[in-house]
């Protein structure tokens, strides 16, 4: 079998692989994006350009907060997420667009979408769309979901547009009439009915949807100073949360869009991609491209090597020849609700005595969080009570040794041990 083909068509452009930089700090200006292109990223959605960025740079400092897992934000070694508050481009619109134009001319094979944001004002949107088109971009992404208040009066301009299907449709229509480029719309998870927003974008003439933007969040509080993070003269405010912590939510949103039968737009996923496994999951759920920010912010553009090689290895193993075959491949396996799932399958935990290190974590979890089905003996061995075990799966989640706990069918087990 030949090497799998990672190419994928997105917004009418042939991308060399499905991996793009998301509109964010990692795509702030040409030199950064160029470095990412050289390392193998297929394309980029630029940091959102707005007319307001000509203001002198008064970006907030600090503007990021690490969201720790299993500890306080400052000390927890594992960062499950990143909160971002007020990150903006620190050069003029003119320079920014010239920068992107030069970049695109030097990398014609890379996909470049210019992201735009503005208030609910036809003139602003059409002006920006004209500039992006003139810069030679391959697509325009509309940021209708930024959780940051970016309007001049502090009103949540882009974000508030994305709350309302009617205004989404209108903005897309304005932009559509000012450019011949395909239009992508970046969505927020903070809506009651995401599919309705997607449909409105479709009616307005969009070509693709990006889901999701960051989530509104509070980044925790410094208990030494009683000030919230990130602390700015003792104060803070809500910030946009990204990274591993939001991946399950981003996947839910993608499922909502991919599962809407009348929605025909191409989908680009964003939200918590940290490794090839995450990215492949998004493709299997229905995304054609995957956008990344936070993991790059934490470990650099070199992440592309893991994504590219991991995807190729996966495709080879499962005999997918093209990314197109992969897109949405597991959709038939997602029921619309857990009520539709079978109750016939009944499993039981089996603990491999050779792999078990005797930590007793499974025992504690089962005792206090499940069915009291695991015994912990004074010699630090464990035993599963097959009568009590309900096959819930909690023990395997707590076990530090991969594959030490397996699940087998309860029926088979009782037959086998009889």
């Amino acid at each position: 079998m030949s090497r799998p083909d990672l190419k994928v068509s997105f917004c009418g452009f042939q991308c060399e692989n499905p991996f793009l930089l998301a509109a964010s700090p990692v795509s702030r200006f040409g030199e950064m994006i160029e470095r990412a292109f050289r390392m193998g990223w297929a394309g980029a959605v630029t940091k959102s350009v707005s007319l307001a960025q000509d203001l002198p740079d008064h970006s907030l400092s600090p503007r990021f907060a690490g969201i720790g897992l299993g500890g306080s934000g400052l000390t927890a070694p594992y960062k499950g997420g990143l909160a971002n508050i007020d990150f903006r481009i620190d050069q003029s619109v003119e320079k920014t667009m010239a920068d992107y134009a030069l970049l695109k001319s030097r990398y014609p094979d890379k996909f470049l979408a210019i992201s735009l944001k503005a208030e609910f004002d036809q003139k602003q949107w059409q002006h920006l769309a004209g500039l992006a088109t003139a810069a030679g971009a391959d697509a325009i992404e509309l940021c209708l979901s930024c959780p940051d208040p970016c309007g001049e009066g502090g009103s949540c301009a882009g974000g508030s547009i994305g709350q309302n299907p009617q205004s989404v449709k209108e903005v897309v229509t304005w932009v559509q009439s000012a450019t011949y480029l395909p239009v992508m719309v970046k969505l927020s998870a903070h809506v009651a009915n995401l599919a309705a927003i997607g449909l409105a974008a479709q009616e307005g003439g969009a070509a693709a949807l990006t889901a999701i933007n960051t989530l509104k969040s509070i980044s925790g509080i410094d208990l030494a100073t009683l000030s919230p993070f990130p602390t700015i003269e003792g104060m803070s405010a809500a910030a946009g949360l990204s990274g591993a912590a939001i991946k399950p939510i981003a996947q839910f949103c993608l499922d909502e869009l991919a599962g809407e039968p009348s929605l025909q737009l191409q989908l680009s996923a964003a939200g918590g991609v940290t490794c090839a496994q995450d990215a492949i999951e998004f493709l299997l759920l229905g995304a054609r491209t995957v956008q990344v920010t936070t993991q790059i912010m934490l470990e650099g553009y070199g992440l592309i090597e893991d994504l590219r090689d991991g995807l190729a290895a996966f495709m080879e193993k499962h005999r997918f020849r093209t990314v197109e075959e992969l897109v949405g491949a597991i959709r038939p396996k997602l029921a619309r609700s857990s009520k539709e799932l079978s109750r016939r399958q009944q499993l039981i935990a089996q603990i491999d005595a050779d792999l078990c290190i005797g930590c007793g974590r499974c025992y504690l979890a089962c005792r206090d969080g499940a069915y009291q089905a695991i015994e912990f003996h004074p010699d630090r061995t464990v035993r599963v009570d097959s009568e009590k075990c309900a096959g819930c799966g909690l023990c395997r989640i707590t076990c530090p040794v991969p594959a030490a706990i397996r699940f087998t069918a309860k029926e088979e087990h009782t037959e086998g041990s009889a």
Binding site: G71, S72, T75, G358, F376
Partner: protein, 461 residues
């Protein structure tokens, strides 16, 4: 208010990674680390607190059970105690608990918080680990406590016992033979193992609540009768072991022959310009001596040991550091004589090769010299580091029973044969010799003395 403390500014790498290391803890059920700490520190709890960023709570957990938490964080042989059965070892490597302990307390000292054992509003329920079993003891009748207790010796056992008794409401007077408090801590721990400024400030804090009589030795001039006459109702003996073992071989009178204590506590040898030395013995003190010699410019340092690595009592880490520092180990050899030059200075040490014999009374294999098989090492200095014995005479003069190995005989409550007299620390047995065990003895003795005095008072009423 206890005095403030000075902390070293530089932070060793293993402390910088403390939060990562704490996060590696498996938080296992019935944690083996807790059974490994003689002083009864709730090890699993303080690691969990640290992993969740609660560094103040971690220090509280450590110091509620061990007033010497910071010092143990430098020198405790954790690999044979709390880290010994760490479950994470089965995933490759035990948690570096000693460094986590030091980190938690140093961070708190930096933040201006003093030793929590002293600043707690009241004495916590005390946890003691005896043979792997965690026992908890909450002192009762505290309100009625009164009376005077004498503590002999200001090492970790004596200080711990005194501090607990003071918190229980007793008057405590502490008698120290030398002019420096701290016992073995202040006499013989080289600064590469324990920063001397940290030790000094820590001892100063711990001694602050106690009345201490310095330069008063127990025995002839200060006997049990004298203490009773002064009103002491109970006595805790924690004088340690100080008489250095020296083999009786020809040549010991030569210039250049000394003992571990002389090397570790005195300075004059440093100016002698010696280039080669033999250290006899391979325990922890011998390792400290060997490394101190190297550090002062002695180029060839030989360690002579009559047994094999199996019988070594020094801790693996100490020995490994000595190997890496350049110490040359000679196993299975026994010094039989020292040769001197015309000026009466050591010229060489003559050793016999040894071979294994039957097991001795301690269960260790004995080793005997092999006839006609010997070698001679040219050295300018010989240091005996063969361990310490008890000063039996001063104890026996007071009617206290000492066994044939030189240890004071005590029961489970650390009571000696003399009514109202308790003993602990290095005095009472093998397998001691650690700060943490001395602390554990101090705690146990304090609680026993409290029980004893409460009983006496009830009987008196």
């Amino acid at each position: 208010m206890p005095p403030t403390v000075s902390m070293p500014n530089s932070m060793p790498p293993r402390l910088k990674g403390a939060y990562w290391e704490a996060a590696r803890c498996l938080r296992c059920c019935d944690p083996p680390c807790n059974q490994g700490c003689p002083a009864g520190i709730d090890v699993a709890r303080f690691i969990r607190q640290l992993s969740k960023g609660d560094v103040s709570g971690a220090a509280d957990t450590i110091e509620r059970d061990n007033p010497f938490g910071l010092i143990c964080g430098w020198i405790c042989p954790s690999e044979v105690l709390c880290q010994k059965d760490c479950t994470a070892r089965k995933l490759g490597r035990a948690i570096d608990i000693r460094s986590l302990q030091r980190f938690a307390i140093e961070e708190n000292r930096r933040a201006g918080s003093s030793n929590r054992f002293l600043t707690r509003p009241q004495l916590a329920e005390q946890r003691i680990v005896v043979e792997g079993q965690v026992k908890r003891e909450a002192p009762t009748n505290v309100a009625a406590s009164s009376g005077l207790v004498a503590v002999i010796g200001s090492g970790p056992a004596g200080l711990t016992c005194g501090l607990i008794l003071v918190r229980l409401g007793y008057r405590v007077e502490l008698w120290e033979k030398t002019d420096t408090i701290g016992g073995r801590l202040s006499h013989g721990i080289p600064s590469f193992r324990l920063d001397s400024a940290v030790l000094r400030s820590e001892l100063e804090i711990l001694a602050s609540p106690l009345i201490i009589h310095r330069s008063r030795a127990f025995g002839m001039e200060l006997g049990l009768d004298d203490l009773r006459r002064q009103g002491c109702q109970a006595v805790f003996l924690a004088t340690g072991k100080w008489r250095e073992n020296i083999p009786e071989i020809p040549g010991n009178q030569l210039i250049g022959v000394s003992t571990a204590d002389q090397i570790l506590t005195q300075e004059d040898w440093k100016s002698a310009g010696v280039k080669s030395a033999a250290v006899v013995g391979a325990g922890n003190a011998a390792m400290d001596v060997a490394r101190s010699l190297l550090a002062e410019g002695v180029e060839m340092v030989h360690v002579l040991y009559r047994r094999t690595p199996k019988e070594l009592t020094s801790w693996d880490e100490e020995r490994e550091e000595a190997w890496q520092a350049g110490v040359i180990f000679h196993l299975l050899c026994l010094p039989v004589a020292l040769e001197g030059d015309s000026a009466g200075r050591v010229r060489s040490i003559v050793c016999a090769r040894t071979a294994p014999g039957p097991l001795d009374s301690s269960g260790r294999r004995s080793f005997r010299a092999v006839e006609g098989y010997s070698f001679e090492l040219p050295v300018e200095m010989v240091v005996y580091a063969l361990g310490y014995g008890t000063d039996c005479a001063s104890l026996e003069s007071q009617g206290i029973w000492v066994d044939e190995e030189g240890f004071v005989r005590v029961n489970e409550d650390l009571a000696t044969n003399v009514d109202g007299v308790f003993a602990g620390g290095d005095l009472i047995g093998k397998g001691r010799g650690t700060v943490v065990q001395a602390v554990a003895d101090g705690k146990r003795a304090a609680l026993s003395i409290h029980q004893y005095l409460s009983r006496e008072r009830r009987q008196g009423e």
